[in-house]
């Protein structure tokens, strides 16, 4: 289990840095169609900010409640991605062919735009949840048992 950090400098800086990092993650996610970035990088930045919250405040603290809530979303991003693909199937086209996304009032190119944005959100959710999940898995250490002793039995 990760215990909250004692230093007041670390906690204060954490309060300042974490929201900025999360905002930057969202920016990278939605800006991915116009510049470098996209779902994967945005998701990793969001994961890094939440891991930072866990490391600074501890997993059970109210300040990192988003990070512990996120852990319940395992597989949600994958579902979003596959759901967009499935909607193309329902619309009468091929899997992940965004031309057949049934969105009224949009031409083919705009449907592709929406499809790319939705799948990017899916990738970002998947990467962010997996990043936090791996970090929590790596730091779960209930009985003071090290990883090597677990492997040795």
């Amino acid at each position: 289990m990760i215990h909250p950090h004692d230093s007041v400098i670390v906690r204060t800086l954490g309060r300042i840095v974490i929201p900025v990092a999360q905002l930057f993650g969202f920016y990278v996610l939605v800006f991915g169609q116009y510049g470098p970035g996209g779902g994967f990088v945005g998701g990793v930045i969001l994961a890094a900010s939440m891991i930072l919250a866990i490391l600074v405040f501890g997993l059970d603290a109210p300040d990192s409640r988003i990070a512990s809530m996120v852990l319940h979303g395992d597989g949600l991003g994958l579902l979003i991605f596959a759901f967009v693909g499935g909607m193309c199937l329902i619309g009468g086209g091929q899997f992940l062919n965004y031309t057949y996304l049934e969105i009224p009032g949009l031409d083919s190119a705009s449907r592709h735009y929406v499809g790319i944005l939705l799948t990017q959100v899916g990738v970002a959710v998947d990467v962010a949840v997996t990043g936090v999940s791996i970090a929590v898995s790596l730091s779960t250490d209930d009985n003071g048992v090290t990883g090597k002793e677990v492997l040795d039995g």
């Binding site: 169609q33 992940l96 965004y98 990738v123 997996t130 791996i134 730091s139």
Partner: protein
Amino acid sequence: MTFELPLLILLVMTAAGALLVKDLISAVFILGSYSFTLALVWALLGAVDVAFVEAVVGAGLATVFFLLTLFRASVKDTQIRRSPVPLVAVVGLPLLAILLLYGAGDLPAFGDPASPASTHIAPTYIDNSVSQTRTPNVVTAVLMDYRALDTLVETIVIFTAGIACALILRNNDK
């Protein structure tokens, strides 16, 4: 293009340092600086998306995962005892390097518009990305639209990695 040589020297130095240093925690940090130098190289070559991923994953998230793993291990496991390098590596690896450098002489020049990689399907993506998907960043259009199925399977790989880590590492007794 005056940055190429210093970046190359820095890259080789950080890579060698990460291999040679005795303490694994120091090796992790040197590996992070190696990733950041590599990201600068990608940015210099114009591959900004790759540079972004390298900086965020290689220098950021991977470093955190390595450190969390090392904090789980006991102190004596973070020090490495090196055995002498086997003779086959001393002789074989320079030979392999010479072979690869010899082969690299026949590669097309950097940015050559007549190279096979630039003439096959890439022009189609570059020409049609904006009109077909309204996405100016061609890399995103290729990843998320033209090659979306590949990206879906990559997402499944990431999901599987998270599930496998949770299954192996988390204590399920409570």
